[in-house]
Symmetry: C2
């Protein structure tokens, strides 16, 4: 907590703030004055949380609605759920009854609302606004709003638009008379034209892991800098989400450090005070500028992604990068203000805020440091806090307005952020103008303990030990340079270890594991188990089983949890081996290791839960307990596509429940299985509890048929799965039990895109779902069902985005698409592509390296939903696009499959989402997100129909399949004597 304001600075800040407040309070900013429909809705939303959510979501979807009927339907769907009892909503209720009649009015109102924040580029409107601002006088910086960039084509178009704007504005501004308050600085005249640029808009996908991002963005930024320098304009690089921050700073500094840009253009970068990192970033930047002997601008803002940063970090299990208390951010803002002003020798500071207290503090701090009014500037958003702006201008400040330009409706995501900012409980503007807080509380010094901003949804610090609650293992954060560097080193180290992996030390048959990106490279060799050895292994397991069954659930859970610890230590190496053995990209390989750790920890805890016997009913006369015991010997038959996670999951489940496991990994990934065995042993698992049998399908078949196997856990293809089921449930002489089969098979997963979908998101998620790991996931999207209206638009953007992908060895993070697993897979996929070219229209087909098992991503459109392309599992990077008349038709097509594993929809219609929940019958349905990458406990995973038998890995019912329940009933009466504790209440 900061000490209360007692010194003279604080007194000066408060005095200035009060003076500004008195001035500003005479006016109300336009947002809070609106008396039309949306103005009223905003008023109500201040009072009612559910209305606020509905309102924001409705505004969010509006741009995608093409007809009045659609607007009317969405209005009804969003607001019919809101509690109409609120008296203020009578009007809204009437509007709903009016149905589609109200739609044009609504659209007009939203456009009107948008116009308060966004300036249309067309029709001279921009010039008018700029001229008016100049009269205040206020400077400006332009921000281009619109769709997100998802392809190289779009990135290139965005760059062209920036260049065009620079040139046009230079012409417009050339005629303006000079105005000292906004044109002068300590270091002379400053550019009148100022453009804000988001680096993510300059490439197909801004990804710090992909070195291509840096190359491309740098090149496009260079051109912008070059043009700005030529025209004498200024450029500010905007700051986006935390994951982009380091790379954004790097690109900004490295380009500016180039000889060409040492003098020009005027360049600035935005920094966010809500980041815990911000202080060190500011210090670094000042040091860098001094070393470079170059002035740069810094726009200090508080940050606009607070909700998302918390949500994303929580989802990944990463540290929350932002302060959780609003007061902490306010205090940080003041600290950074002073820091920037102290760097005045190289920094042109700009303070972006609407908070009178923060701004007054900046002005007073500058004054105390002897920095004149033209030595820094104040920045504010267009359409917001106009009275504050006027007060600052009257105070003689240089004020720059941040001015979004673009089409109104596509700029809606910008509008939403502004609405959020204005209507959040902690918004200074809301507190001032809507809640009418008293001036003293509004302008008091930020004290960390004041606000109600504590966020309890934030994960507690991770804890080790199996008795703590389960927490998903956080993936490696590859947006951090040190992690990228470490993984590069690990890849080298692992490659160097290939030759040590499996030297032929004995006779028998051997299996070679090769790098699918370079099949000449042998990753390792393993000895194949003979059928005699399989029988010996069963014998060993049977001998050991009673002992293993006899260990406590605690003991077994502890071994799993210890194995998770070992895996954490080896996670870098494990992921690196996986890149080479099965051709996974970095993130995918790491995710597989993460998931394996999750299975170990989750099943350990699940067993602790299930390991407790429960008394079924409290009875005086009888003690009835219900508890679980293991089944016996489990055969684990695992696939190569998640070579660590799935093998670990099935094996861990078998072991922790007290079964002895015989692991039969896929022939394509024997080395990952070896690693798992080592890890389990290192964690203290007795040798005989789990044995590894390397080899091909004949070993699996032998295990499945053996009368001494109790349980088969299988993940793989449908045909093999169905055969296993038939064989396992065929009773054989010598068998004294019914076998149990835990079985996950294939998928032919569909994603539906509704007419009102957010296409910016849909394109990115569809690419990940369809082409991540070359489509070699049972959960991968292989059918894309597009509603008629959205079909062409989405397909065009998607095709462009896919064409932006690079294909090549996955050890190079530039490559989004790697090889398929082996020669057979390549041939099979190639056959399907040939078939597709006959059956449908090929929209995308890309060249791929000839060496290695590469196949470029393929998109077919106009696919018949009954055709083989749409019905058979291809297990490769092939996406079939099917056109649907309407949402019902889309669901019908989606369900028209013998598979039912995953599925997805992109829609912003509450009714369609609800309908999909009920009627899109797949094991895992994903709404407005990718359809792969189920997380343990969070998304219990498994399919219906011929995709599986309904067992869900990583879910609460999974372990039950490995157990058998028993009941023991003991008569507690002995000659009429009941133990007194049993007579008591339970």
């Amino acid at each position: 907590m900061m000490t209360p304001p007692t010194d003279s600075t604080e007194q000066a800040v408060q005095a200035l703030a009060r003076a500004l407040y008195r001035n500003a309070a005479q006016h109300k900013p336009s947002l809070f004055e609106a008396k039309d429909l949306l103005g009223r809705m905003i008023d109500w939303s201040l009072e009612d949380e559910s209305l606020r959510v509905a309102l924001f979501r409705f505004v969010d979807v509006l741009p995608s609605l093409e007809s009045s009927a659609e607007i009317g339907r969405h209005l009804e769907e969003y607001f019919a759920r809101v509690d109409h009892a609120l008296s203020g909503l009578v009007f809204l209720a009437q509007a709903l009854h009016a149905g589609t009649l109200v739609a044009p009015v609504v659209r007009r109102n939203v456009l009107k609302l948008a116009r308060r924040f966004i300036v249309e580029e067309s029709g001279g409107h921009l010039t008018q606004v700029l001229t008016a601002l100049r009269k205040e006088p206020a400077a400006f910086t332009l921000d281009v709003v619109g769709e997100a960039t998802v392809s190289d084509v779009e990135a290139s178009a965005m760059q062209a638009r920036y260049l065009d704007l620079l040139r046009r504005l230079t012409k417009v501004s050339a005629g303006w008379p000079e105005c000292a308050q906004i044109d002068d600085s300590l270091n002379g005249m400053i550019p009148r034209v100022n453009l804000s640029v988001k680096l993510s808009s300059l490439c197909a996908r801004f990804d710090p892991l992909d070195p291509h991002t840096e190359t491309v963005v740098r090149e496009r930024l260079r051109e912008l800098f070059r043009e700005a320098a030529k025209l004498g304009a200024a450029l500010t690089v905007d700051m986006e989400q935390y994951a982009f921050k380091d790379l954004t700073l790097e690109i900004f500094c490295s380009v500016l450090a180039e000889e060409e840009f040492r003098a020009a253009p005027h360049a600035a970068i935005a920094l966010q005070a809500y980041l815990k990192d911000a202080e060190s970033d500011v210090s670094d930047l000042i040091r860098w500028a001094r070393r470079q002997k170059r002035r740069i601008g810094v726009r200090l803002v508080k940050g606009a992604y607070w909700d998302s940063e918390i949500a994303w970090a929580q989802q990944k299990g990463w540290p929350i990068p932002v302060f959780l208390e609003k007061a902490e951010t306010d205090a940080s803002y003041e600290r950074l203000t002073r820091l920037l002003l102290q760097g005045h020798d190289v920094i042109d500071a700009a303070f972006g805020s609407h908070n009178l207290r923060s701004l007054a503090h900046a002005v007073v701090a500058a004054k105390e440091l002897g920095i004149p009014l033209n030595g820094y500037e104040i920045q504010m958003l267009y359409g917001m806090a106009e009275p504050v702006r006027q007060a600052m201008i009257q105070n003689g400040q240089r004020v720059r307005v941040y001015l979004p330009v673009g089409e109104l409706l596509p700029g809606i995501s910008y509008l939403i952020r502004r609405l959020m900012e204005n209507t959040s409980n902690t918004s200074f503007l809301r507190q001032t103008y809507a809640d009418r807080k008293d001036i003293a509380s509004l302008i008091k010094a930020p004290s960390v303990a004041i606000g109600p901003m504590t966020n309890a949804a934030v994960p507690a610090p991770a804890q080790s030990g199996y008795s703590n609650p389960f927490r998903n293992e956080p993936p490696i954060d590859f947006s951090r340079r040190e992690n990228r560097e470490r993984f590069v080193e690990t890849l080298e180290k692992v490659r160097a270890a290939f030759k040590n992996q499996g030297k032929k030390r004995s006779s028998g048959q051997w299996l070679e594991s090769v790098n699918p990106a370079n099949p000449k490279e042998i990753v390792g060799r393993v000895r194949v188990a003979s059928l005699n050895e399989v029988e010996e292994a069963i014998e060993t397991a049977m001998r050991f089983f009673p002992k293993w069954r006899g260990t406590s659930a605690q003991e077994r859970a502890k071994i799993l949890s210890d194995a998770a610890d070992v895996m954490r230590q080896k996670r870098w190496e494990l992921a690196a081996w996986e890149v080479f053995e099965v051709g996974k990209g970095w993130r995918e390989a790491d995710a597989d290791v993460t998931e394996a750790i999750d299975y170990l920890e989750y099943y350990a805890r699940e067993m602790l839960r299930l390991g407790q016997a429960r008394e079924t009913q409290p009875l005086a006369s009888e003690a009835n307990t219900y508890f679980y015991e293991p089944r016996g010997i489990a055969a684990i038959i695992a696939p190569w596509n998640f070579p660590l996670a799935i093998l670990t999951g099935m094996t861990a489940a078998a072991l922790v429940t007290g079964n002895c496991a015989l692991m039969k990994p896929a022939e394509q990934s024997p080395i990952m299985a070896l690693h798992l065995l080592d890890i389990l042993r290192e964690a203290g698992l007795p040798d005989d509890a789990c044995q590894l049998l390397q080899g091909g399908g004949e070993i699996g078949a032998h295990l499945v048929r053996s009368p001494r196997i109790h349980l088969i856990a299988f993940t793989g293809s449908r045909d093999v799965g169905l055969e296993i089921l038939r064989e396992a449930y065929t009773y054989r002489p010598g068998q004294s039990h019914v076998k149990r089969v835990v079985c996950e098979m294939g998928g032919k997963n569909a994603v539906i895109v509704d007419n009102d979908a957010d296409l910016d998101e849909a394109v990115v998620y569809i690419i990940d779902s369809a082409f991540g790991y070359q489509g070699q996931k049972c959960s991968a999207a292989s059918r894309l069902i597009l509603l008629d209206e959205v079909h062409d638009r989405l397909l065009a953007r998607l095709a462009q985005a896919v064409r932006s992908l690079k294909i090549g060895p996955p050890e190079d993070p530039r490559n989004a698409v790697g090889p398929v697993i082996d020669r057979e897979a390549k041939a099979r996929v190639a056959d399907y592509i040939l078939l597709g070219k006959q059956e449908a229209k090929c929209v995308v087909a890309m060249d791929a390296p000839k060496e290695g098992f590469f196949i470029g991503p393929v998109i077919f459109s106009d696919v018949d939903s009954k055709s083989r392309l749409a019905q058979e599992e291809i297990f490769g990077p092939v996406l079939s696009v099917i056109r649907a008349r309407d949402f019902e038709h889309a669901l019908e097509i989606a369900n028209d499959s013998d598979f039912a594993l995953t599925g997805g929809i992109f829609s912003r219609s509450p009714a369609h989402i609800e309908k999909a929940r009920k009627e899109f019958r797949v094991g895992n349905l994903y709404i407005n997100r990718g359809i792969t990458g189920a997380v343990v406990e969070r998304q219990p995973f498994g399919g219906l129909k011929l995709s599986g038998i309904g067992s869900k890995a990583g879910g609460p019912d999974y372990l039950l399949q490995f157990l058998e329940p028993r009941t023991v009933s003991e008569n507690t009466l002995r000659h009429g004597f009941v133990p007194p504790e049993r007579l008591k209440a339970k």
Copy 2:
């Protein structure tokens, strides 16, 4: 609550009680004076609940321990668990270390303890005690203690012993000089010889349902009365558990009403004040005696089965017959005292109690009614409260001592009851002598709100409606005459309805259901479904399925609960139909209906639990829900042996989870299936949700193979079960899912009898388990494994007990053994009997009626555990006895089976019980009780190995088999906006 004592009576009672107390307080009764090992253990047990339990249980098992080693082992097993930290237990700890050395000491001590309460009949000891008592002076009544009666042979021996005692005592007492205080009454001299008789000891099994009980007991009681009349002795009929009370009173009165006994003998009956019924029983008895113009004695006691009565009633769900508060019983005792004294014209009242307050109240009440001291008597137990007895004698009262005679160790159950009485927290003696409560609180008038006796384990009143917690349906209480009469009427009514059941109204094939006790009697006819009709039914179900799936869990649960209500209304008729259709006895038939009701109510509630979608993790960015959906069309293939319960259970599970059901009942019980269908329809189940397909195995086979069936729920034989599994898991063209099989198969269930078992209990439970419903239960005991030492003793008693069973049509409740289901079954069982006669030694084989499918119960001994007799399921009344060297060997034999459904052990060794819990691997293990009759929720039921697949009917995991889990994940972020409720803590 009673009003506090203000009147003169109360003052007189208190004054007398104080006087008696002062007198008695000078001495301590012998139990609380003991300074030897057991005396000390009793002292400690007053302080420590767990020691008390251990002590009682140890004393309970002691008589069955034949060697010092055994005594030592049990000592250790019982007391090693007790908390030795208690300082007083140092001695015990030492004794344990001394091991078997201490065994003879312990046995000697227990004998010594027993001698305080029980008089040995042999060696002149009885005469000594009687002579000593007479000197006090105190009268006596003898009570014979020993093993329970479980066969006609034993009943007859007990009667002979009573007769012998009457004769011997008459001789002994003839020489005694007269003593007015105890020999005189208002109505002249009273008999010196007084014998207390338990009616349950006069027949093989005292069962109010069995009219044979009344016949046999009446006849034996008549002989006792006749001899007593001849000898001038008195007989008192003791009162046992509540279930025996009505019949005991009936027999007592009806025999006394016979002309022969109108004048003699002196006869009395005991009544228990803790019974809520006691007041009306006393009134009835007085009225009866007045009508009969006959004096009878009534011994008023408080009652010695309090724990058990509560436990039994709770177990059955019947009303608790006893008062729950000790004060209520005390108050009841005083009310009844006055009532009896007011019936002084016909009643010779005897007040049996050790409670000074209760006794003082009786004395004062008599005085107030003008009844002189010789107009009533006081009774007290031998070995207890001697100072109170002396005080009463000195007060001039006629005191009679209740004197148990018999062998010390077999009389131990009597000893336990006495120990319980003395050491219970509410015991007057304990409060007086051990807890040393002050006199005022000891003798105050019973006020209902005083005691801590409230028993919270008592079930709450039954509630209807599926939203209330689950409660097992109470069975019909056939110990009540009105229920017996109602069932007789129902049987007649149902038989009259046979001809209406299934007239041939259409063509096609018809099936006749016959009464297995009289195959000429046709219970009903049903039309067999053709395979075309089966296909149509599947079609209908598929059409209806989406609608049924779409109904809410609440709605479906409500229909089940409503069906349970309909079933309750029809329960009498349903049970009666079952008696005729499948040859079940009354209780078994009623139990089947009860279980069917339980399934409906339990699964309804289970579905409410499972019907709630759960959020898997609280995340701001994503809403992840996990929920269940039905699988589709379920084929229900049910057996005839629980024709309502199993069919209802499987069908209810399928329906409530939202599957459409096709019921295929056994051909032997089509009528019960018809009834179920009617009930479901009456409860509002849509017609197409459940269809009935009558016929033979070809229909089941067709359903199992159909590619349109999703789930098969089967209960039946192993061979059919294994075939169903193989067929169901063989994928067939047109099938777009993996079928699920819920499968319960046979059993070859073993009961182990340990050397220390309570044979009284074991014999009864083994008969029920092996021969109940003619052994036609998958849970029936078919192997009896006897430890060497106990083998001959148990087998002899068991054989005698079995020979006491009557065989014949089950509609007559006299018959414990009815017919097997059909001609094939009879032939199959007969073949096994022939085989048994070759393989083993036939111990019991009984004649059975030739008409109908009757087979008398058979016991084979010396059975080889590997023989067919010991390995194959016979499904009839055949029990194979196998001899085991020791407990480990017994477990080994028990587990040596491909089946593992139920099992049982009778043992009082904590270590053996623990070992059995772990190593006796069956689905349902029962300890010291019968191994059939699993109760829904209480004992989830199902087998392991080739008995089943581990699904447990009536358990928490059962419904999961009928469901498939789904996960839906919705991205909750929209352009960075997170709904505020998701950001909050969960």
